[in-house]
């Protein structure tokens, strides 16, 4: 018999406030609620996907204070007050596709689309820091994310194309 905390009592809830894609969002969650579940089921931002629940596949990658993190490995309460960017926040202000997303469409960088949000966020942060990658660097940049559909070739091409689009926009 388990001797842990009593499970027949309602869970204690904690107030969590995040700035998600530039908007202040709050919710009351148990301490064990993952950031991915908080984003998906409490804030209803379902663009962030969960593929493995143990931090390997990268589908749940979001940007925390601008840096890529695995939202399935973080508890929402531990990032209270932080700024989070999800795939929904990688669109332009008018809702149209951002540079990375547009590159994915042009290069056929997605098939089923389930892993795609994690790639989009990862690449967004990568290109901010490395605006002009070559092919091997682009391949390395996405080497922490799993995709079962594309064989990665068109995702690598998407990274390079997104870099080109960003440069063009910057010019």
């Amino acid at each position: 018999m388990s001797e842990g905390a009593p499970v027949n009592a309602p869970e204690t809830l904690h107030e969590v406030t995040l700035v998600v894609n530039g908007v202040r969002r709050s919710g009351s969650v148990p301490a064990r609620r993952t950031l991915s579940d908080f984003l998906r089921h409490d804030l209803r931002l379902t663009g962030t996907h969960v593929g493995c629940e143990h931090g390997v596949c990268g589908a749940c990658t979001v940007l925390l204070e601008g840096e890529p993190v695995r939202s399935c490995l973080l508890l929402a309460v531990t990032v209270d007050g932080a700024e989070v960017t999800t795939v929904e926040g990688c669109c332009r202000g008018d809702g149209s596709l951002g540079a990375v997303q547009q590159a994915f469409q042009e290069c056929h960088g997605l098939q089923c689309g389930f892993c795609t949000p994690g790639f989009v966020t990862t690449i967004t942060a990568y290109l901010r820091d490395h605006p002009d990658p070559d092919e091997p660097a682009a391949r390395e940049a996405i080497a922490g994310n799993l995709c079962r559909c594309t064989g990665y070739q068109n995702i690598v091409a998407s990274v390079l194309r997104a870099a080109e689009l960003r440069r063009r926009e910057g010019a």
Binding site: S2, H49, V56, C91, L97, T150, G151, I155
Partner: protein, 811 residues
Amino acid sequence: MTTRLFGEPVQRQEDPRLLSGQGRYLDDLGHDALAAAFVRSPHAHARVLDVDVTEALEVDGLVAVYTYEDLEGRVGERLPLLIPHPSLTEPRTAYALARDEVNHVGEAVVMVVARDRYVAEDACDRIRVAYEPLPPVVGVAAARAADRLVHGDVPGNVAAHLVEEVGDARAAIAAAPHVLELDLQVERSASMPMEGRGVYARWDADDRSLRVYSSTQASTSVRAALAAKLGLPLDRVEVIAPDVGGGFGVKIVHPWPEEILVPWAALRLGQEVKWVEDRREHFVASAHERGQLQQVRVGFDDDGRLLGLDVAFWHDNGAYTPYGVIVPIITATQLLGPYKPGAYRCEWWSLYTNTVIVTPYRGAGRPQGVYAMERTMDAIADELGLDRAEVRAGNFIQPEEMPYDQGLLFQDGRPLVYDSGDYPAGLEKLKGLVGWDDFETTRERARAEGRRVGIGLACYVEGTGVGPYEGGWVKVETDGSVVVATGLTTQGQGHQTAFAQIVAAELGVPIERVTVTTGDTRRFRYSVGTFASRAAVMSGNAVGAAARKVRHKALRIAGEALEADPRDLEVVDGEVRVKGVPSASIPLATVAVLSNPLRYAFDEQAKLATQFAGTADLSRPPVPEGEEPGLEATGYYSPPRSTFASGMHAVVVETDPETAEIRVLRYCVVHDCGTLVNPMIVEGQVHGGVAQGVGGALYERMAYDESGQLLNASYMDFLMPYSTEVPHIETDHLETPSPLNPLGIKGAGEAGVIPGMAVFAAAIEDAEGFRISRMPISPSELHDLRLRHAAGEVPPLRRHLRHHDDQEDSG
């Protein structure tokens, strides 16, 4: 506005939605639904003695706990055997929840429903199941030895046994000038879509109807199964496959235990219930494939031509056979590839083991068959000292021999007759692409640098587009937009785009005006499903047929309005016009209005179709006999038999002399899937298949221990390739249209994975100089083979010996 159509690399219509986080996958739905979780067997083989749920009942937020005893009516019966076959004499399927025995780790024993998934799992943790462990059968060899049985009433663990023979193979081999024998082995792998399975059910008590969302490849059949299991009229059940995060075969199986139990619970509780599979569950409770032991005896002449081929293989079907024996049937038939085998005999056994069930994973038995045949081709070439490509070419079926009857029955129960293909042209393209004839220079250059490289090639023929049928529905709305529906489902193949291309081309409308829905039984009720590289062939031709009907109807109605002969009309950019007289035209939108005579004008457009508009021909009824209102039509495509795509791959590998690491230097693909609807999408399918081929050859395996525990049931331990493991893929296409369907299409979905194991085995063997007979192969296994080779336990390839002799001669 540009109308870019059939055959163009049109960008995908589904992408903006999926890229901006607006996809609707299973777990994106039903946020307020109750959550289900399952207590699963920790034993590979055990009797279930007792289930004690007492402690779980205290959990705050618990709604219900169900064991086998609670299942009512047909829900408590065994799951259906989806594909019966005469050879499958001992089929066994599971119960939705284990009744008194469990046969693999992961089998569902108890279902818990609670406020959310966290709470449901709390409750699962507090359920005590008492088991009496039984000795498990793990691996094909143990199943074949049959010292222990999986099912006590299935002798020898043999679910199915089949012998097929064309000619007298054993006599042909006995009379052949050369004979070789090969012992081969392939380990288990799995589809591993990034999104696991999932089910979300809503019972509408007022409407007495059930809506189920499932991450499935076969929504119409899930619907039929649910209606039957739950005792509901079929028209009170609707099943929708929302966006699906990959399938690769595993999601064609249905109804899964969870797929019945979740809707059943929703109905009982009168509340929405959802279950989303976690990754560990996907490893231990969905399905695997690939595991086989194979023995090949082959007789051939001095030129390497096959005279007789005698194959025996033992197929691991896991604990149950809900999907029948489709996988070994495909291995046995598709093994023949692009070759004339001489006389052919194939005998196989499908065996029970206490492991996860085996059902099709992309390739579905073909990778194993191609592996057996291509290993054989390489062995023949080596035995005779001939070029490996030449031996293959000498055995090819020639284009002028098409259609070619292999004399067997294929997986669709129809004759294995290849409809078209040009294998010699494919081989020439591949040799050119990879630089086959110049490879010795590359090898010598590498050798001079102390590097070890090898090249391999492998060919396959893939039966695609199996029946029985698919249907399509096309409608032009009164605003000129076109809606299309087909019953089969989508898991990333770009159907919304490819089918829109076909309809837009047939109908003469801009593709931007066409919207396609798949896998929703509310929109199209008759369908088989997405598997066997069949979607483009089947639904492509079905929506094409429906669009042609709509076009004819539009021309007829427009002919009356324009007072022109329909034969003189054409549809261009959504306008019906008189050929050569562009001014005499009528928009399709208006034709759609006229096609539906109205009493009530609900908008400006509709006024045209009302009774006092003066547009009606008063000499006949508003809807003439034999006609139906609306500019819409339904079409079906049902093929006489499968259409056979083909291809060949070549790979150049480098093996590290010290660490035995295997690196891919080049990967080349020549692919023929008939007429291309969208070359960009086809190429993407090939890439993805190749990546899974790389995984299956070098990394992925299900590591079961002797007690039937899956030791690598996580993404940490089951090694799927990342971008750093998949090479750049060089592709070239042939287009040999299928004569069997109006669009000339052959399937493309599975192709890329099929020759993976075979081509890597060939290249690694070529680099190392000794035979590779077991796949996948890891660096440590290769290292071990090297040691055994050095110890004289693994014989060298003959060409390796000859090479050494040559060097000694010249030295």
